[in-house]
């Protein structure tokens, strides 16, 4: 067991309290910024990059010009009644967001000290105690900022808070090993078991993910496997059966099937990016039920949704 480093900090983009679908009970969910994968369907596009980014919502903008006055980079300027914005010149310093009364300009991502995150998590401690809840680190990929993540997990644990982490598992084993003593529950993503398909759609190596999962189980970790069910990627009975077989083989009891949704589509616009996933419509309730049955036949306890 390595001791946590002294007061590390990291980049997060949100802390959401009363989060009730990311582990047991009432939880606080800490959204880490930055992810080693690049899934096309990602519903939190602002979680992918490691640096802060500016989100701009033109429907909220009053064109008051407060941002023009404060921008040190000349990235916003007035053209007649309207304002123009050049993302290329914008390092997302946040001066405009501080000046914007309408919340049209906001920055996704801020650097915070682990102890401050722990303090925020502790605010809801009595709710965790009464509901069997706790803290969940999600994102983004929390383990891409592993010292920071470990410090938060350890800090929460020292206060008796149940800890969970949502991870894609695409990290060196040593990283997982280092947080193992501080983590009560792993919510472990498994998207596909075919190496080629997995790499093509996520950019990640499934062999690493699977071997990490196996080692976690071997080390006695408690894990729930979560599968985002993505149309055209892993929504057939064969896809789910193949995943479920791996899960069953490892002796993991619980599987969550999370239906794909287009929730994040608008956030791509706010971040000035395009939503390029074109796999099709969300998987219907009927299909989800039959996929659940496929996995359940292997003896797994399967839940649709978190």
């Amino acid at each position: 067991v390595s001791e946590p480093a002294a007061d590390p900090s990291g980049i997060i983009f949100d802390i959401q309290r009363f989060s009730v679908h990311d582990g047991p009970g009432i939880r606080t969910l800490v959204f880490f910024k930055g992810c080693p994968l690049a899934c096309l369907w990602c519903s939190n596009p602002e979680s992918q990059r490691f640096d802060p980014e500016l989100l701009f919502d033109p429907t909220r903008c009053l064109a008051c010009g407060g941002c023009v006055e404060v921008c040190p980079h000349g990235a916003v300027w007035r053209t007649g009644e309207k304002l123009a914005y050049d993302r290329g010149r914008c390092p997302a310093c946040g001066a405009c967001a501080d000046a914007c009364p309408a919340e049209a300009r906001t920055v996704a991502g801020r650097r915070v000290a682990a102890k401050d995150v722990v303090a925020e998590v502790l605010k809801d401690a009595p709710f965790y105690a009464n509901s069997g809840g706790g803290v969940t680190l999600g994102g983004g990929e929390p383990l891409a900022q592993s010292d920071f993540a470990r410090e938060i997990l350890a800090g929460c644990r020292l206060h008796g808070i149940h800890t969970a982490i949502e991870t894609c598992g695409h990290v060196p084993w040593g990283v997982l090993e280092s947080i193992l003593p501080w983590t009560d529950l792993f919510l472990y993503d498994l998207k596909h078991v075919d190496a080629e398909t997995h790499r093509a759609q996520t950019g990640g190596d499934i062999a690493l993910i699977l071997s990490n999962l196996e080692r976690l189980v071997g080390a006695g970790a408690s894990a729930i496997v979560r599968v985002p069910v993505i149309p055209g990627f892993n929504d057939t009975a064969e896809d789910i059966r193949a995943i479920a077989e791996q899960v069953a083989r490892l002796g993991i009891a619980e599987l969550h099937l999370l239906p794909y949704h287009r929730l994040g589509q608008n956030k791509y616009l706010l971040a000035g990016r395009r939503y390029e996933f074109a796999g099709g419509d969300p998987v219907g309730d009927g299909t989800m039920t039959s996929l659940r049955d496929v996995a359940a036949q292997l003896g797994l306890s399967v839940t649709i949704g978190g």
């Binding site: 009464n130 509901s131 949704g305």
Partner: protein, 794 residues
């Protein structure tokens, strides 16, 4: 007669519910005609208490009585279900003026049948100069009346009865009204009329005998009617039911009840007659599961009744609670929207020994509300450390069905509040809730809860305008002749304090005058039979006959004012984003051309309800300041002012009466709902943050209750895990010291509204797939998606 239970497959409750709810609310003139006749014959010859007694007796003897198909519990308030009797002795002029608009007004419409219209046009003008309201208007000082008319506060007992109590229903169950009448007669006989206090006692005891006997005759009329109907009834099952009704009505409320059905019928007669005697609302059944339980248990043990049979009787009673109506004027129809009668029925909690008193009937009451799906009774649940987890789960399960029922109350906070008010521990443990959230010792208290609603939003705007109300232009508060200057945040607080002191005095003055008048002009003998120590003291409920006498005014808009103070403190004086003069100019222009400034105020200073210590601290200080301001005053019944923080729907009424406020709220936007709820849409960090903010207020000071509304989406509390989370929210709030919480579990109609007005619903959390989001932050296509899913899941 429809008695086809087996054939239709419908329950009796379903048919009763449909039958009653098919009646649109209407006006009934019968009571008005009888009472007017009675007052005109007797007013000059009798003291008020006896006049009231004879008027009630005349109504009970002469009004139409109805036994509806399928009814097992009988007793009607007016000639048709959901028709409102008229109480012209309290007020009449507005009824005459609004007769034409009652059927078409914006809220709480009433049909006016032609015969009632004609009758009322004849009856009402005969009350000119004689009604309670006529007297009240002359008795109130000009500044009090002007403040009421300008909606600086709302006086709520100028034209109707006091109501607002949990009577001691147990005494009609045992020993019954004959014994009560006998006791009154014995007291009469024992009086020594040379004793100066004896004259008052004689009048009171005589009145007690008159109304107790009238109530027994009233029940007798139902017995007779049931027998007649039985004779003509073709269906043998219904015939047997009618004969049973007749048997019961010959026995109760005169003699002690012995069966559950008898106890329910006796209860209903008392509950009903109190609402025929006067039109004060919030007549609250109180701890129904406690005083009814012996009768239920006896029937179960004796094999006379099974669980389903008991539930069917409760079904009948629950529908009855929804038949009762109170006609309100146009203003009050907004301030008290939705035909509410606030008949608060509370179950669970501890006994006088501090042990858990939850029983089987507590659970049955939850079931009855689930089956009825009707707004009345206002079901409440008492919770404390030792409340059985099963019971809290069952109550939470009902709460998440979206009815907003039950409300949850915290013994661990409320019992000490009552002890602080001088109530002994055992009695405090027996508390009931009256109306919305007003705790009291049932059967011993006149808390005078209709003591009005203080409009804090307006007080703030007056503080910023040297005592002038910007809406009416009237000088409603004290002015500094030198003019006002605001050099620092402390100046703002001082200005607010000054106006607050003034308006508190005005409201107390108004309350005490009306309180005194109720005692003088409209003492009600029947309700007084069910309140200790009225009979022994020879004083009515309204005259100080109760053991505990409080006055409970309420304040509306706490969150807005706290948010406004925070915005001024931060943006004007700390960060200097805006000059005070510029802020005032912006407010005077209702933010026209200053949307950026408005959003700055709204978005750039912390808001109450987000677990922010600074603004929550301002709210706490403000609340304590308001509450302690009232507590220094006393009422004419020898009791103290015990204020609370709740709004009913007065925040809707005050909407137009408050100019733009520095929390970024434009004129005519609603003030915060509830009493200690955050302003609409400003609590953006979820329910745990709301709970922590609300718990920061000093609930011990709010002796007339605090009211917290929390909105939840059905998805966030769905399933077994969701239920446990709801239970955890309640448990935690109560561990942190909250008094009351109720939940709106949002349906798709609200989500639609949220689409149209996202700014008011920014706090709405919905479940999308593997996680939850703030509804208004997602794009319209997905909103549509969620609405559709919600519709078929809920």
């Amino acid at each position: 007669m429809d008695s086809t239970i087996a054939v239709s497959g419908e329950t009796r409750a379903t048919r009763l519910r449909r039958c009653v709810m098919a009646h649109e609310p209407s006006v009934c003139h019968e009571r008005a005609a009888i009472v007017t006749d009675c007052y005109e014959r007797l007013a000059g010859t009798l003291p008020p208490i006896l006049l009231r007694a004879h008027a009630l007796a005349a109504v009970l003897d002469r009004m139409s009585i109805v036994i509806g198909p399928d009814e097992l519990i009988v007793g009607n308030q007016a000639s048709r279900p959901r028709s409102a009797p008229i109480f012209p002795e309290y007020s009449w002029e507005w009824i005459l003026e609004e007769l034409d608009t009652l059927p078409t007004r914006a809220a709480d419409r009433y049909a006016v049948p032609p015969e009632s219209r004609e009758a009322l046009q004849g009856i009402l003008p005969r009350w000119r100069g004689k009604s309670f309201r006529d007297r009240a208007v002359h008795a109130l000082p000009e500044d009090v009346l002007r403040s009421h008319q300008s909606l600086l506060f709302l006086l709520t007992s100028m034209g109707c009865g006091v109501g607002h109590l949990a009577p001691d229903y147990a005494r009609v169950l045992t020993p019954g009204l004959s014994a009560i009448a006998r006791e009154a007669r014995e007291r009469l006989t024992a009086l020594d009329l040379t004793d100066p206090g004896a004259i008052r006692k004689r009048d009171f005891c005589q009145a007690a005998v008159v109304v107790a006997e009238a109530a027994i005759r009233f029940a007798g009329r139902f017995a007779e009617r049931a027998e007649q109907m039985a004779a003509a009834e073709a269906c043998p099952d219904r015939q047997a039911e009618l004969l049973e009704i007749a048997r019961i009505c010959r026995k109760v409320p005169a003699r002690p009840a012995e069966t559950f059905a008898e106890a329910l019928q006796a209860f209903w007669f008392v509950h009903l007659i109190i609402q025929i005697e006067a039109n004060g609302h919030s007549i609250s059944p109180g701890r129904f599961d406690q005083y009814m339980s012996p009768f239920y248990e006896a029937d179960r043990t004796g094999g006379r009744l099974d669980r389903d049979g008991a539930l069917e009787l409760l079904d009948c009673l629950w529908v009855k609670f929804n038949e009762v109506m109170k006609l309100r004027d146009k203003t009050a129809s907004i301030g008290f929207g939705g035909y509410p009668l606030f008949q608060n029925l509370i179950v669970g909690g501890q006994g006088v020994d501090g042990r858990d008193a939850t029983n089987e009937l507590s659970y049955l009451c939850l079931d009855a509300t689930r089956r009825a799906r009707l707004p009345q009774p206002s079901l409440s649940v008492r919770v404390y450390r030792e409340t059985p987890p099963d019971f809290l789960r069952a109550a939470s399960e009902l709460a998440r069905e979206g009815l907003g029922l039950p409300a949850f109350f915290n013994d661990d906070a409320i019992v000490p509040v009552l002890q602080n008010m001088g109530v002994p521990l055992e009695e405090a443990r027996g508390y009931a809730e009256v109306g919305c959230v007003e705790p009291q010792v049932p059967g011993k208290t006149n808390g005078y809860y209709p003591a009005g609603f203080l409009n804090l939003g307006k007080v703030l705007t007056m503080a910023l305008h040297n005592g002038t109300d910007p809406v009416t232009g009237k000088q409603l508060g004290p002015a500094d002749p030198e003019g006002q200057g605001f050099a620092c945040y402390g100046d703002i607080v001082a200005a607010l304090d000054r106006q607050l002191d003034h308006v508190t005095r005005l409201l107390v003055t108004g309350d005490n005058i009306l309180d005194e008048l109720h005692g003088q002009l409209a003492p009600n003998p029947f309700v007084s039979l069910f309140v200790d120590d009225c009979l022994a003291r020879g004083l009515a409920y309204e005259q100080g006959g109760a053991v505990y006498n409080y006055t409970g005014p309420n304040s509306v808009g706490l969150a807005n004012v706290a948010d406004a103070l925070m915005a001024i403190k931060r943006l004007v004086f700390a960060e200097r984003h805006i000059e005070m003069d510029a802020l005032l100019a912006m407010l005077d222009q209702d933010f026209a051309g200053h949307e950026g400034g408005r959003l700055l105020l709204l978005n750039r200073a912390p808001k109450y309800g987000n677990d922010n210590e600074e603004v929550d601290g301002i709210a706490r200080e403000l609340a304590t300041r308001i509450l302690t301001g009232f507590k220094q005053y006393r009422n004419p019944r020898g009791g103290r002012f015990e204020p609370g923080l709740q709004s009913i729907s007065a925040h809707a009424l005050f909407r137009d009466a408050v100019a733009a406020t520095p929390d970024g709220r434009p004129a005519k936007m609603l003030l915060a709902d509830g009493g200690i709820s955050p302003a609409q849409g400003r609590d953006r960090r979820g329910p745990t943050a709301v709970i922590r903010s609300a718990a920061r207020l000093d609930h011990r000071e709010a002796s007339n209750g605090t009211l917290l509304n929390i909105k939840l989406s059905p998805q966030s509390v769905a399933g077994e895990a969701g239920l446990e989370n709801l239970v955890a929210l309640i448990r935690t709030y109560f561990q942190l010291g909250g008094q009351h919480v109720q939940f709106n579990v949002i349906n798709s109609a609200i989500l639609r509204e949220a689409q149209r007005h996202p700014e008011k619903h920014r706090d709405l959390v919905v479940r999308v797939a593997g996680f939850s989001v703030l509804f208004t932050t997602i794009d319209p296509v997905l909103q549509e998606d969620i609405i559709e899913r919600t519709e078929h899941r809920v």
